[in-house]
Symmetry: C2
Amino acid sequence: MSTWVEVPKNSDFTIYNLPFGIFKSKKLSPRIGVAIGDKIVDLSVLDQEGLFSNLFFPEGIFLRDSLNELIALGKTQTKKIRERVQQLLLAENGELRDHSSRGKVMVNRKEAEMLLPVKIGDYTDFYSSIEHATNVGKMFRDPENALLPNWRHLPVGYHGRASSIVVSGTPIHRPKGQSKDPDMVMPEFGPSRRLDFELELAFITGKQTKLGDYVSTEDAEEYIFGFVLFNDWSARDIQNWEYVPLGPFLGKNFGSSISPWVVTLEAMEPFRVEGPKQEPEVLPYLKCRKSHSFDINLEVFIQPEGKKSSKVCASNFKYMYWNIAQQLAHHTVNGCNINVGDMMASGTISGPTEDSFGSMLELSWKGTRAVKLEDGEERKFIQDGDTVIMKGFAEKDGIRVGFGEVTGQILPAK
Amino acid sequence: MSTWVEVPKNSDFTIYNLPFGIFKSKKLSPRIGVAIGDKIVDLSVLDQEGLFSNLFFPEGIFLRDSLNELIALGKTQTKKIRERVQQLLLAENGELRDHSSRGKVMVNRKEAEMLLPVKIGDYTDFYSSIEHATNVGKMFRDPENALLPNWRHLPVGYHGRASSIVVSGTPIHRPKGQSKDPDMVMPEFGPSRRLDFELELAFITGKQTKLGDYVSTEDAEEYIFGFVLFNDWSARDIQNWEYVPLGPFLGKNFGSSISPWVVTLEAMEPFRVEGPKQEPEVLPYLKCRKSHSFDINLEVFIQPEGKKSSKVCASNFKYMYWNIAQQLAHHTVNGCNINVGDMMASGTISGPTEDSFGSMLELSWKGTRAVKLEDGEERKFIQDGDTVIMKGFAEKDGIRVGFGEVTGQILPAK
């Protein structure tokens, strides 16, 4: 496929991708767009101009400030929308290319401000990378017995805070909180001293279930609309003091950042790969008939204020031990209901090598070694003024489908 | 104060209470009402009839299917609404009593179906009863050292699932899931064998904060609209196998039940009492200038299918070690933002005596002793067909303010 839109080399937003997002500009109220190259296709204008031809939608569906209603139309509809946009962008198709409203339809990405793409109902964070769980176990528990007994039997997960999930570019203040190092008698209060990122990918649910119902691994993908990059900011010192016995709370809920463009499951299809072998065999409700893993390159960069950015991690989504279908089947096997716009994040995605660890905790091995950056900088954890940038893209047979990036700068504690 | 409405003796819904809820009936679409005796004041009709006199509201504000928009008007407004309703119900006031539309305004509670009162944004569950935390620590950890090191320093809490919170009366299917008793080699899958309730009270937030902002203990009550009874259903076997290290997940998120009437903080004012002394001294951000504890009697009943109900627990909200102001201050001290309609539950409210423990786990001491019920029945955990009923009321100087009840029947696993 080729398109009449100029798509820069190495653009994540090719004709094969066409992710959905919410944007606004000085002139435009919030609305739904599809990214291609350095442009955004304004779906509301496309609709006004009758360019969806024989597709019909509830009025104003593209003039919303979230994708939820659009997603709720169902996969059959959203697939048709994406396919129609793709058709209109094909090199050989003149319908939009030669349309008098083309200028109104095609918005420059530079001039657009991206908003949070979905109103998030509930947010769940899994812990599905075996390399990450093993690293954490080695550091904080028993190096010889790093994985906890339940880990290989179920995709461990917990509920996170939905309200503090923000779109890429939103600065985050360093959180304050209680912490207590082992050598301290009493806890102290102050800005976190061990602020970290976690490299994750999250999926957004696209279909509701009723309380008591269950989604099988076989049906799971019908309930998944798409993916975003997810930075699960973590304050290690706060987390460490609070998390026993009920799990992470203030060490996480001061903010999580996501990329603005939701890459559909359909766009990820060419990048499906076999996942890791699971040993011991999983229980029947977690077995899969086909592969639900995807080969997606993931990178993390740190950019100290006013300096160059340095790549500190190169990982891949394919390392995930537990896949998205297993995560969703597990989440609902007890009857827990899901809504359109729920977000389920993978947990930190670490790979097998030291340069593929998805958090500073692992990269600096609990702060025992400094990670070298450009310009003579080095880091054990994230400093005030640092911007953390995560990127993700899949590439195969000349086809590239990417996420753009999720960035966030850490501001000093308030 | 006395009212012209007939209020049965021991009614929770006195002229001093006036809780808000969402109801509908065969003839009426969902709307906002205030409970008094066996009646509901239909606020939408009150408004249509001009009975709010000099109060003015956004159109249709009382014809919503959740209280969120009403609550978002702010405490000044909602206080005025409640005070005006109170005024209209006073024995000596003829405005509504003698009004031609009185019959339309006053709906029989029996004919109304109560709906979930708020659209819940995020749901947080605390763990703030020292008796409960001590009991759990004695059972599962070290009887001599039952409380974990962090417990007296911060109100431990975690995020729960908002989507599966249901209104009183909604049946819940016994959840299925993985569990592994210590003597088993591999986990097994099936219906939970140790299904439990947790007696809790939850507050609903009434005012938004921005990400990065913090609510002090002094300001906290400005952000709290009111309370509901909360049954945090728990599958102990599922919870036990999954919860290390990231906390409860499927052992909890198959359902939580709340009472339909939101009792305002203002109605609770006469029942304010000193809370337990906190030792060691808490960090400055958790110190309170005034008391934020309330003397609220709480009771739990179990009713086997087709049999009498038996009281199994009588506890009190005043036992809570950590109060609502401390919970909210802690929750936001790292900058975590809250929205109108967030729900923050207390955690199981156990008292000091064995008959005041707020869960079967404690009442049956981990299933080692049976709890006697009427009709020769006994229980260690909840059986299929059982209905669990929780009640709550405060009483002082002849004034009674209560919650009604939250009930839920357990149906067999699907």
